[in-house]
C-alpha cells in the first residue's frame, strides 16, 4: 500500500521544522571539520551562514507543514554520511553539498 505522507505525518506529528532541526547538528559538526583548514575559516563560515539562511527560509515558509517519515530517514542517512567525512577539504565541499541534498529531499530548490 502506498504511503500517505500527510496521513503518516498527522499520526507522528512530524513537521518540516522538526526535520530541519534534526539536520542542523550534523551540519554544525561538518563546519567544525571544515574549519580545520585555517586559510578557509572565514569562507567556511560565510558559506555555512548562506546555507543556514536558506534553510531558515524554508523553515519560515513550511516549518509547520507535515513531513513524512521518509524525510527523517533521509536526514538520518545524510547526517551519517556527513559524520563519516574526516577530510576537512571534503568537509568544505560538503558545506555546500549537505544543504543541497537536504533541500532536494524536502522538494525545494537549492
Amino acid at each position: 500500500m502506498a504511503l500517505d505522507p500527510a496521513r503518516d505525518a498527522r499520526l507522528t506529528g512530524l513537521t518540516i521544522a522538526a526535520v530541519l532541526d534534526a539536520a542542523r547538528p550534523a551540519y554544525d559538526r561538518l563546519l567544525e571539520r571544515a574549519e580545520e583548514v585555517e586559510d578557509e575559516w572565514s569562507y567556511d563560515n560565510d558559506l555555512a551562514e548562506a546555507w543556514r539562511t536558506r534553510l531558515d527560509e524554508v523553515d519560515t515558509a513550511r516549518g509547520g507543514d507535515p513531513a513524512g517519515p521518509e524525510l527523517m530517514a533521509a536526514v538520518d542517512a545524510l547526517g551519517r554520511e556527513a559524520d563519516a567525512i574526516d577530510d576537512p577539504h571534503r568537509a568544505i565541499d560538503w558545506l555546500s553539498t549537505f544543504p543541497q541534498l537536504l533541500l532536494v529531499a524536502l522538494g525545494e530548490r537549492p
Binding site: Y43, R90, Q100, V104, R109
Partner: protein
C-alpha cells in the same frame, strides 16, 4: 585570435587518459539529460564516503521514494536516477586522487556535450577540449581552456570547476584577459565559468574575489542546461 592545441606535456597525457575513460563518457551522457535533483545527487555521491546505493537512495526520497513517481521530467524517471547513482558511485569507488580527476573530466565532458547542442554549433567539430587561445602580440597563457566553442562568429572559452572553491582570482583573470584581448582584435569572445556547484555557494566565493568578472558568464549546477541554448553575450548572470 586563433585556437591551438595545448602542448602535450606529461600532465596533458595523463589527463587525456582520464578523459578517455568510458566511465567519464557514460556519466557525462547521463548527466546531460538529467534533472536538477539527479545532478545534485550525483555530485554528492561522487564526493561522498559511502558507496552503498541504498544509503543514497534514502537521502533522496524525491528521486527514489513514492514521491518520484508523479514527478515530470527526468527527476521522475527512477531508472535514470538509478543509472546516474550507479555511475556516480563507480566514480566514488576510485582512489582519492583519481576520482578527483575523473570528476573534473566528467564536468568538462558534460559541458562539451551541452555546448554541442546549441543552435549554430556546427556539430562536435566546433567543440574542442584543452585548447589555448593565441592573440597577436600577447604572450600565450600556459593553461589551456577546458572547452572551447570555435564556431566562427560565436567563439567561446569555457573553464570548468567541480566546486565553488575552485573559483579563484587566477581563473577569473585568465577568462577576462582572453575576452579583452579578443575584443582588441574585434572578436566578441564569450568567456564562461562552469561550476558544478550551487549558485549560492559560488556567490559566497565570488564575494571574496576582486578580479574582474562583470563580463564573465557563470553557469552553475542549476543552470547547466543554459549551455545548450544560444550564446548569450557578455555580462555576469
Amino acid at each position: 585570435m586563433r585556437f591551438q592545441d595545448a602542448a602535450p606535456d606529461a600532465r596533458a597525457v595523463v589527463y587525456a587518459g582520464i578523459q578517455a575513460e568510458p566511465l567519464v563518457a557514460r556519466a557525462a551522457a547521463l548527466l546531460a539529460d538529467a534533472g536538477p535533483d539527479q545532478r545534485v545527487l550525483a555530485r554528492a555521491a561522487m564526493n561522498g564516503m559511502s558507496t552503498d546505493a541504498a544509503t543514497w537512495q534514502a537521502m533522496a526520497p524525491t528521486l527514489f521514494g513514492d514521491a518520484a513517481a508523479g514527478r515530470p521530467g527526468p527527476d521522475g524517471d527512477r531508472a535514470r536516477s538509478e543509472a546516474i547513482l550507479a555511475a556516480a558511485l563507480e566514480v566514488a569507488e576510485r582512489g582519492e586522487q583519481v576520482r578527483s580527476q575523473v570528476r573534473g573530466a566528467i564536468v568538462e565532458s558534460l559541458t562539451a556535450i551541452l555546448a554541442a547542442r546549441r543552435r549554430g554549433a556546427t556539430g562536435d567539430s566546433a567543440i574542442r577540449r584543452e585548447r589555448r587561445i593565441l592573440f597577436d602580440g600577447v604572450r600565450a597563457e600556459i593553461h589551456p581552456y577546458d572547452v572551447t566553442v570555435e564556431t566562427p562568429g560565436a567563439e567561446e572559452a569555457l573553464d570548468c570547476k567541480w566546486g565553488a572553491r575552485g573559483i579563484s582570482a587566477d581563473v577569473l583573470h585568465q577568462l577576462d584577459d582572453a575576452r579583452t584581448h579578443a575584443a582588441d582584435e574585434d572578436v566578441d569572445l564569450t568567456v564562461t565559468l562552469v561550476v558544478f556547484d550551487a549558485r549560492r555557494s559560488c556567490d559566497v566565493r565570488l564575494a571574496r574575489e576582486t578580479a574582474p568578472r562583470s563580463a564573465t558568464r557563470f553557469v552553475t549546477i542549476e543552470t547547466l542546461d543554459d549551455l545548450a541554448g544560444d550564446r548569450i553575450a557578455g555580462a555576469e548572470r
